[in-house]
């Protein structure tokens, strides 16, 4: 951009400026930010972040200044170049896999190679036979082969059994014939497939002949199976005639990603294309050989969901960091009850209407953190049990918990980001918020990896099963916290507890668990005793899953504070307990009727919760800036004028508008009498000229 030397250079924001205000805010609290960051994120994580950050900050390719102005094809190309550069840096600087992921996270683009690293390699590794792995893995790891994961179709997303793509075994040639019988069989949404990948894992219905060859051949469907298929020429990147593949076009977010479509027309692949680590087809007899251990695959999906809780916490922490810093700086309206000589307008974060939107979300970042950690530990324990002793006992619990938390936590964060954005008023709508791309991308999360409504059925199914076991066994063994809780509820004589949630943190946890148990028994009764249709209960199941997952968040938060002996200061511990109570009680307030109906908390006690929530917000308010500082999110990642660590909000907003905005560089004639349409000559022009 043109350097501009004009009178704006001498102007400063009206006093007090953002830097002064944030310094004052930081002086109000003695939370030891660096120690607390290390406690939350580990020193290893922070060192890695610092190290990778320095590399990216010095490479102009990762400058985020103008990416929001690009035409979609250029936006994709920029991300492709960034993906290449990160991979090159990995080799050059000897980065680990974790370093690579840190670089991708800081770059903050959904990289066009993402599905190659995140799904393609993992799938071949986990579902390929030993021979397949030996053949493919070196090519995959060297990125000679770039792959995508082609499961979802135009007509089918969540319901994998409904996929239409067929893989028909031809015993004569010993090939599979991939064929899309309808338009709706087109693979759709598959990331990295639109332009980048040269191979895919195509998930297709495996059809084996049950009668002799010929036009009347009958086939038996063995359900969806994965096939590794080359879709483009390694040199020209063009597909063969029997394949149509491309990018599906612009979306709500994910501008940088080439989500694709893919159709097969009687496309033949060799016997070895079917990933044969579990089930396989005998190439000589055409016989289907069953998988030995289908539950391991199931464990992988669960891993993705478990990780989503930690991602949700970071996404929300970004938005809350921006909101807390900016709203501390922003002032608007003088307090009408203040003396008329009051000089300053009220700090926006001091308005209750702003606090009650932002501070519970600040508390939520910590709630998500502790449950994310607990999920990681549960996943590791389960994995070890399975691998070491073939013990699948905790897998069902892990699967249920991760499904429920995925649904709840991605909803909390998606809605929370938007709540932060709206609380910031006008500037929250501007590109300087740094939340535009975050929001647009994050809004995919409530849908992907299991729709947030649909997957709550898995939680309900699990809890109903647990109640059934309890109801049918005289002396059932309670091994998990969930089982213990259901048992406690069942054997409790008094079903009205009237817990003292205002005075007692244990009572808060008990209230959440009681509600979860109450709704579990109610769901069991409706489904198994009254025999109501499953689909008629989906709202009950959704509410049950929500209640159960909230109780897990509350319980993990509580347990972590009870057992954490490594907190950096007594004040930090005190503030964390306030955050625990704020999270739990503000959640309870929004769900008050259920807490009353289930007998956990009286109406009088619930009426008093609001005042307690406001008192907690008053107590937490002075620590707000230091608390968000503790998440240690670098300015480079925030990419936000409003959320800058140094508080130079207005200076940066003006800089972005006045010196970094390409729209101010182009020429055109605004006179309505002229009919010209001054086109860009690149992709923009390319698009416009096709009008």
């Amino acid at each position: 951009m043109a350097k501009k030397d004009d009178f704006s250079a001498a102007l400063k924001p009206a006093a007090p400026d953002g830097a002064t205000i944030l310094a004052n805010e930081r002086a109000r609290s003695s939370i030891p930010v660096e120690d607390f960051s290390r406690y939350l994120l580990t020193p290893q994580y922070l060192d890695k972040q610092d190290r990778i950050l320095k590399v990216l900050e010095n490479d102009p390719l990762f400058k985020k200044t103008n990416q929001a102005n690009l035409a979609r094809p250029d936006r994709y190309k920029l991300a492709l170049a960034r993906g290449k550069r990160i991979r090159q840096l990995k080799e050059k600087l000897g980065w680990s896999e974790e370093d690579y992921h840190m670089a991708a996270a800081l770059c903050d683009d959904v990289l066009p190679y993402h599905l190659h690293t995140a799904m393609f390699i993992t799938t071949v590794c986990q579902q390929g036979s030993e021979g397949q792995k030996a053949y493919w893995m070196p090519k995959l790891e060297s990125w000679e082969v770039i792959g995508a994961y082609a499961q979802t179709e135009l007509g089918h997303g969540s319901n994998v059994r409904g996929l239409e793509l067929e893989a028909r075994w031809d015993p004569k040639t010993k090939e599979f014939v991939l064929h899309s019988p309808h338009l709706t069989a087109s693979k759709w949404w598959n990331g990295s497939m639109g332009r980048t990948a040269n191979h895919v894992i195509a998930v297709a219905q495996l059809l084996l002949p049950v009668s002799g060859p010929g036009p009347e051949t009958k086939y038996k469907n063995y359900g969806p199976h994965p096939f590794i298929v080359q879709i483009r020429d390694m040199k020209t990147q063009q597909p063969p005639k029997s394949i149509l593949v491309g990018d599906i076009g612009p979306k709500y977010g994910y501008d940088s990603m080439d989500n694709g479509y893919l159709l097969f027309n009687q496309h033949r692949v060799p016997h070895g294309a079917m990933l044969a680590g579990y089930s396989r087809v005998n190439p000589d007899t055409g016989e289907y050989i069953k998988p030995k251990n289908p539950e391991v695959v199931y464990g992988t999906m669960t891993h993705v969901r478990a990780r989503l809780v930690m991602e949700a916490r970071l996404a929300l922490a970004r938005a809350v960091t921006v909101a807390v810093r900016y709203l501390s700086i922003r002032r608007q309206f003088k307090d009408q009850d203040a003396p008329s000589n009051t000089a300053l307008e009220t700090n926006v974060l001091d308005y209750p209407t702003v606090q009650f939107r932002i501070l519970p979300l600040l508390a939520t970042t910590f709630a998500l953190h502790y449950s994310g950690k607990a999920m990681g530990e549960l996943y590791e324990r389960t994995r070890k049990d399975i691998e070491k002793s073939g013990d699948f006992a905790t897998l069902a619990e892990l699967h249920s918990t991760s499904s429920g938390l995925k649904s709840l936590c991605t909803d909390i964060s998606a809605n929370g980001i938007e709540t932060c954005r709206r609380a910031m008023g006008g500037h929250g709508f501007g590109g300087g918020s740094g939340l535009v791309q975050l929001n647009n991308n994050y809004l995919s999360k409530p849908t992907v990896e299991g729709d947030n409504y649909m997957i709550t059925q898995q939680v309900a199914r699990y809890l109903i099963k647990k109640v059934r076991e309890l109801a049918q066994t005289v002396k059932s063994r309670a091994t998990t916290r969930t089982e213990e809780n259901l048992k406690r509820f069942l054997y409790s004589k008094d079903k009205t507890l009237n817990l003292n949630v205002l005075k007692n943190n244990e009572d808060i946890v008990q209230a959440f668990e009681w509600r979860s148990a109450y709704l579990s028994f109610k769901a069991y009764e409706k489904r198994e005793i009254q025999k109501k249709p499953w689909n008629s209960l989906l709202i009950d199941f959704y509410r049950l899953s929500r209640a159960h997952s909230q109780s897990i968040l509350v319980q993990n938060f509580h347990a972590a504070l009870e057992t954490s002996h490594d907190l950096p200061s007594p004040q930090t511990r005190e503030v964390l307990w306030d955050l625990f109570r704020l999270f739990a009680l503000s959640t309870m307030e929004t769900e008050a009727r259920e807490f009353y109906s289930c007998g956990a908390v009286s109406n009088e006690e619930l009426d008093a919760v609001t005042a307690d929530v406001f008192e907690l917000m008053q107590r937490i308010r002075p620590h707000a800036v230091r608390l968000v500082d503790s998440w240690a999110i670098p300015d480079f990642l925030l990419n936000s004028a409003l959320g800058r660590y140094d508080g130079k909000v207005y200076e940066e907003l003006f800089e972005m508008a006045h010196r970094q905005n390409p729209l101010n560089e182009v020429t055109f004639n605004p006179d309505y009498r002229t009919d010209e349409l001054v086109l860009g000559s690149g992709d923009g022009g390319h698009i416009l000229s096709k009008l």
Copy 2:
């Protein structure tokens, strides 16, 4: 785009296709769609829509196919060209003002000329003196002068009194000196100002000298006043040296609009620049002459807010149209309780988890409609009362009602659009939803024209005043429905009503009004008896405004159905009553605790509401497609593959991806070993090359 002749041409979606399904859906109901549309929208509106639509559909400039792919500068230029074309068409075809607005609405771009037509001309017309109007109006109406409205600043939005731009009167030269003392005084966000306008209305603090000239001159601040200022040369479009102006850069939405910034450095304008229809400065004495009738200006702001209810209804109707049509077509998962030979998967709109998100929103479109109509009538009545007899009696009620409804209805629609989007799963995240731009643009509404939290104070202030009047007067005159309601509450002996909301529609209305009155008295007590600080009550005020506005929506809906004698069929009336009950009871369900606490409805009755809501959804379900058809939103405006009238969802999604996507036309090398960044050569390249 390249014509593609390949095997996809022969493919159809799996049966039943969308066209068949929508035909079946439409056959399930006998609502007379065309008659109902005319009843809702008037024949005049529908004729106008048809007439303008034909013109735009035949002009390639208005083709929306590729606009989402453009670089921001090209997106702006496209909208500028469209704005010019619409203005040219107006002249050529002799369009009325209403025709022009219909064209702009169907084009669906926020046009760069929008502030000229929407605010600039109106302001000069309403606030200019006769002489100023005679001078400026011909230039404005011929678009010789293109203007913007420059009020909001970098540091101040809602609080107009806090604006920093100064207009200092220089008695020697008889000029005003416009000056921005700080960076935060920069005008900011002002639409059409970034590149398009050559003039602005700049709102500045009027400073008149109170002591003699010289460096020690003291000034008195008369508050914000409007000045008409040329900011760019009429030929070169360049600003003078004492002005910095430009576009603020990309935002959450409004890509096509050049929201701007503007700084003045001791910029001099003549005495005549200050709009002098109300207050003015005597050029000879420097004396300030007060406005005669400040409330008329106040009425104009109210008009904008009143219109937002009708806009909210149309925005929501668009999203609901798309959702109802697509979710009728989409099928996913077989019913697990169905016999195993069931061929078809369940229609997504038949899942309760989808119905309870979408059908109450469908009901809400009608609730918004009747209150939008009522607001229009109240506005007209108030305007006539003021103009004809100087009677300002209903202005305060209009102002309060429009503020509360603005806050509630824009929240309902902004959240409702996103709810529709998420309910549509994966394809809801795609560009084919037609909701991306709608959502991005509409999300500004909760902030503009008064922040949705902040303006609820105006409702509370009004209701507290009404309670005070009632409390202080023995025999108060109740003229408005609000006053009657408060009076009824005050004089009611029994404060626990236990209304029968399941059986009786009047009881529903009464429950909403009772809750509103209860919260009004509670707010009055806290503020005026207990003398609590105003700011500490902001959450109470927000909840009061919400409750009051919900009661207005319910009451207007009920009154309209009671008095409508022109409904096209008995079945339509029946379905509308169901929609009324669904809107009211689903709202009641989400706010159940307040209905219980205020004594309006018992807990037992509230527990039974859920079952009633589900029954109502079952009754409304067969009419859903015809009901959205009745909003008569043309495909051209929907711009949605998912929401097409003909149901060809999958065909259109594939067409968009395979034949209309510029990313599939560009070339590049995905190999990570290459370091190339293949740039577009237009604005995209321009931006990238500056990295």
